[in-house]
């Protein structure tokens, strides 16, 4: 293992941040530049915290798990949506441009309100299992499920609602009401789940329009940037076929 060798010289990085705090009087969008010496294993989480601590206490950003699990720190990294906490600076050039994720309400600098957007989407698409029975007797054996199916559901359940797919989607940027890959993959997830009693006709009511599955232009932007590598395109295409059938039977 080459671990024992201490890297002698570190790169000088220039981190540029698009800054703006809509609630601060006099604040205007501007690009601010921060020079920084790169450290071993440095991530953007480490870099931004160091900048805030040592250079500029006014810088605002969001980190929670710092392990690529919670989805809080999505931002544009050199123009591309991604999770800052698990982006290593060594994989980027010496000049790094950071901007807030587009498509969401700006809180300040790199922090955006993805929570509000996601809650709105969830309410609209009713992203919960619509159970058949009101009360389940919890002391009885649970309902059985095919192990493969459980895995397939989990595959779509891995979404962390980070918002990258919205930022990477042309439709979402043009049409604020579009539920995006995050919303459509959730529909795919619940449709797959036998515990959910909803029918295709009901799903059609939720996503059978241009703000739903027919708004997708299949440009693959979402899948390219999804940090969890969800099979978004295949799932959206599948939902679209099912919804098209629905639309067809409705005439």
């Amino acid at each position: 293992m080459s671990e024992n060798t201490v890297t002698a010289s570190h790169r000088r990085l220039t981190i540029r941040v698009l800054r703006y705090n809509p609630r601060e009087p006099g604040s205007e969008p501007r690009i601010q530049e921060y020079p920084l010496e790169e450290g071993d294993g440095m991530t953007l989480f480490i870099a931004l915290n160091e900048i805030r601590e040592k250079q500029d206490p006014s810088l605002v950003f969001d980190f929670v798990c710092r392990a690529g699990i919670c989805g809080s720190c999505a931002m544009l990294i050199n123009g591309r949506p991604g999770l800052a906490c698990r982006t290593q600076t060594k994989n980027l050039g010496p000049e790094i441009m950071l901007a807030p994720l587009p498509g969401f309400e700006l809180i300040a600098d790199l922090a955006v309100n993805t929570g509000k957007w996601m809650r709105g989407m969830s309410e609209r698409l009713e992203t919960w299992v619509h159970t058949r029975e009101q009360e389940v007797d919890l002391t009885r054996l649970e309902e059985r499920m095919d192990p493969e199916l459980a895995e397939q559901i989990y595959e779509l359940d891995r979404c962390i609602e980070c918002g990258c797919c919205i930022a990477g989607c042309a439709t979402a940027q043009m049409r604020p009401g579009f539920v995006g890959a995050v919303g459509l993959s959730k529909i795919a997830r619940f449709r797959l789940d036998p515990r959910d009693a909803r029918t295709d006709a009901e799903y059609y009511e939720l996503v059978g329009d241009d703000n739903g599955v027919f708004g997708c232009m299949s440009l693959l932007g979402c899948q390219d940037v999804c940090p969890k590598d969800l099979p978004l395109q295949a799932r959206i295409a599948y939902v679209r076929r099912q919804m098209a059938k629905q639309g067809f039977t409705r005439g």
Binding site: L138, E142, E143, R144, P147
Partner: protein, 660 residues
């Protein structure tokens, strides 16, 4: 002054808070949830490994039930747990797992037939039963006799939280995100809600409620290297402590997880070892069997972490670029297994270490992981010192973990406590005498006081740096209040922390914006965290024994004679620099499982004079009732059923056993 009313104010939108709010809603109440972050970003999402519930569906779980789960949990706690609460918990845990199944959690399921597993470094074939096909599967975890940990691949917490979060939305429960509770409103005997800061605008408002529930998670960020999220700063612990009347229990009980990656402290799940992964040293030698011949890598966390540090002290650590570490080897599990069941682990290895865990060993070292200490409550989840204040989840000391919690028992606690405590909260709210008139003058005073503190930070003439004080605190906690503790280090640590606390009263800020201002947040949280750090360090200094995760090199034995008690830390005066400690004895005469050897770790301990008597009594009851069903025996030893809300009392069915 903005005042927001609700029946139940739930502070925290993790698994525990969400489940409490849902329970309250199901009982017809109006809850409001406050959260620093969108609920699904709470740290519950990070739990990879799984949730313990004695469903006994898999072959290696056959024979598991509440009794076995109870004994594992009490042993794990090193007899620090409240055994009645543990009973309530183990009984309701299967119901909580099944409730989540009904709500949509895609639990991994039993595949009938033969499969190959890795156990003790060997490949062996086990056969899953046909009659269990499609039921919730369990995996092996440390400190358990049976395979009991239900899981969703290695994204258990994420899947649970996402389902729970959506359930709260289905119930139209309002979640006020990016809001931080700064102080509880109380008059010394009754809690009326909280003063809350909007993290975007900086505005303060009062949230007034009949019942207030602290479900704010852990305090891992008291330490320099922790697996916890950056928001796990113990702010709910501080809410209770700063009332001056509601104490924290067992703050010195801090769990260190064996396998955090070096240097970031990001966790790789215990599931890695549960599934057959091994720990190796600088020579590639598998060292755990040398220390723990019985449980090996799967002894409880406190034991494995200490053994690892012990081994490093013997010079067997690997000196890496980022410091000394040991190796976690999961290569023997095979790529197929890693890519299916340990995907998060694989991602973490790729992104944060740049390695492929199917080919390379993972550099690991123990790091702070879990806060056993918390807001001390009784079995209903209420603080006996402050009426109307409840706590649940990691922020609570309910107390089912004692001095060491078992892997998988924590997410289980969040949902089980959520179920149980929400019933008691609803009972509380529905009792007519608890519909009190809120003293608005008091509310106003509290809001002004909090505003005053913030103004002092923003406009005062302090010159201390919040960041510098924070790093100094992290250093003290890591160096002096860590895995191995001594009286001398702890005393020095306490003194240093006291100095930092005094200095923290003179913090000055460079950035004066009242709204989104991370420096301001660091400042006021550091002031509170120093009090928690002192409660931890001072509690550790006073406790001259070793129990569970609390290990004193100068007092290596567990001392039941003097220390079979729970530490209570009060912060009585605002200007104090030390907590006031009191102790709550644990009554051996009522224990179903009297103190003994845990089955791993050190075998020598100092017995309490009551232990032998109680052990004989338990033995006698068991003999007299030989042949009686296990429920009858259990009830004769330690009745607890009356404590559980009636709706959870039914007997749990298991495949092939019915409700026996």
């Amino acid at each position: 002054m903005k005042v927001i009313y609700s029946d139940v104010l739930v502070i925290g939108g993790g698994l525990a808070g969400l489940r409490v709010a849902i329970g309250a809603r199901q009982r017809g109440l109006d809850p409001i949830i406050l959260s620093l972050v969108p609920p699904k970003r709470s740290h519950s999402a990070a739990a990879q490994g799984g949730m313990q519930a004695s469903l006994a569906n898999v072959t290696r779980g056959i024979g598991d039930n509440e009794d076995v789960h109870f004994a594992d949990t009490v042993r794990g706690s090193d007899w620090g747990a409240d055994q009645e609460v543990v009973r309530m918990f183990v009984h309701a845990a299967p119901q909580a797992a099944r409730e989540l199944a009904a709500w949509g959690v895609p639990w991994s399921r039993v595949r009938p037939g033969d499969r190959e597993i890795v156990a003790n470094g060997q490949r062996v074939t086990i056969t899953e039963r046909a009659e269990a096909a499609g039921l919730i599967a369990q995996r092996d975890f440390g400190g358990t006799k049976k395979w009991r940990t239900c899981y969703v691949s290695d994204g258990t917490g994420h899947a649970m939280l996402s389902t729970m979060g959506d359930r709260a939305i289905a119930h139209a429960i309002p979640v006020h995100e990016r809001k931080e509770a700064l102080a509880l409103v109380h008059d010394g005997s009754r809690c009326y809600g909280a003063v809350v800061r909007d993290l975007t605008t900086g505005e303060l408002s009062a949230y007034v409620a009949r019942a207030t529930v602290v479900a704010t998670g852990g305090a891992g960020r008291l330490y320099g290297v922790t697996t916890n999220a950056v928001i796990c700063e113990g702010m709910g612990h501080a809410l209770a402590l700063e009332t001056g009347v509601a104490p924290l229990g067992n703050m010195e009980a801090v769990q260190f997880h064996p396998t955090a990656i070096v240097p970031t402290g990001i966790l790789v799940t215990e599931g890695c070892r549960g599934d057959g992964g091994l720990l190796r040293d600088v020579d590639g030698h598998r060292f755990m069997p040398d220390y723990e011949p019985e449980k090996k890598e799967l002894a409880s966390r406190d034991v494995v972490s200490r053994r690892m540090e012990e081994h490093i002290r013997k010079g067997k650590g690997v000196k890496g670029r980022f410091g000394t570490h040991l190796w976690l080897d999961i290569t023997l599990l095979g790529r197929q297994h890693i890519e299916h069941n340990l995907r998060e682990v694989k991602e973490i290895c790729e992104y944060f270490l740049g390695i492929d865990p199917a080919e390379q060993w993972i550099p690991v070292r123990p790091a702070q992981h879990y806060t056993m200490g918390g807001v001390r409550t009784n079995h209903t989840g209420e603080s006996p010192w402050l009426k109307g204040l409840f706590a649940a989840g990691e922020a609570a000391c309910w107390d089912m973990h004692g001095f060491n919690r078992l892997g998988g028992n924590s997410v289980a606690e969040t949902v089980v406590a959520g179920m149980i405590v929400s019933e008691f909260v609803a009972d509380f709210c529905q009792r007519p005498e608890n519909r009190v008139d809120v003293p608005m003058g008091l509310v106003d005073d509290f809001v002004r006081r909090e505003q005053g503190k913030l103004d002092l930070l923003l406009e005062g003439r302090g010159s201390e740096s919040a960041d510098a004080l924070r790093s100094a605190m992290l250093h003290v906690m890591t160096e002096k209040v860590g895995i191995f503790r001594t009286g001398a280090d702890l005393a020095a640590g306490v003194e240093e922390l006291q100095g930092l606390l005094v200095r923290s009263r003179h913090i000055g800020l460079r950035h004066k914006a009242p709204g989104a201002n991370l420096e301001l947040v660091v400042a006021y949280r550091t002031q509170k965290m120093l009090k928690l750090a002192l409660a931890t360090a001072y509690g550790a200094l006073q406790r001259t024994e070793s129990r569970g995760a609390h290990f004193r090199e100068d007092y290596p034995q567990r001392d039941d004679r003097q220390w079979l008690s729970r530490t209570l830390a009060f912060w009585r005066g605002e200007d104090d620099t030390l907590p006031t400690l009191e102790y709550e004895p644990l009554d051996i005469k009522r224990m179903e499982l009297p103190p003994g050897w845990r089955g791993y770790g050190a075998k020598d301990y100092i017995d309490h004079p009551d232990t032998a008597k109680r052990a004989a009594e338990v033995e006698r009851v068991r003999n007299e009732m030989a042949g009686a069903d296990r429920f009858a025996v259990q009830q004769a030893l330690m009745p607890w059923e009356g404590m559980l809300p009636p709706r959870f009392r039914g007997r749990n069915e298991r495949v092939g056993e019915g409700r026996a």
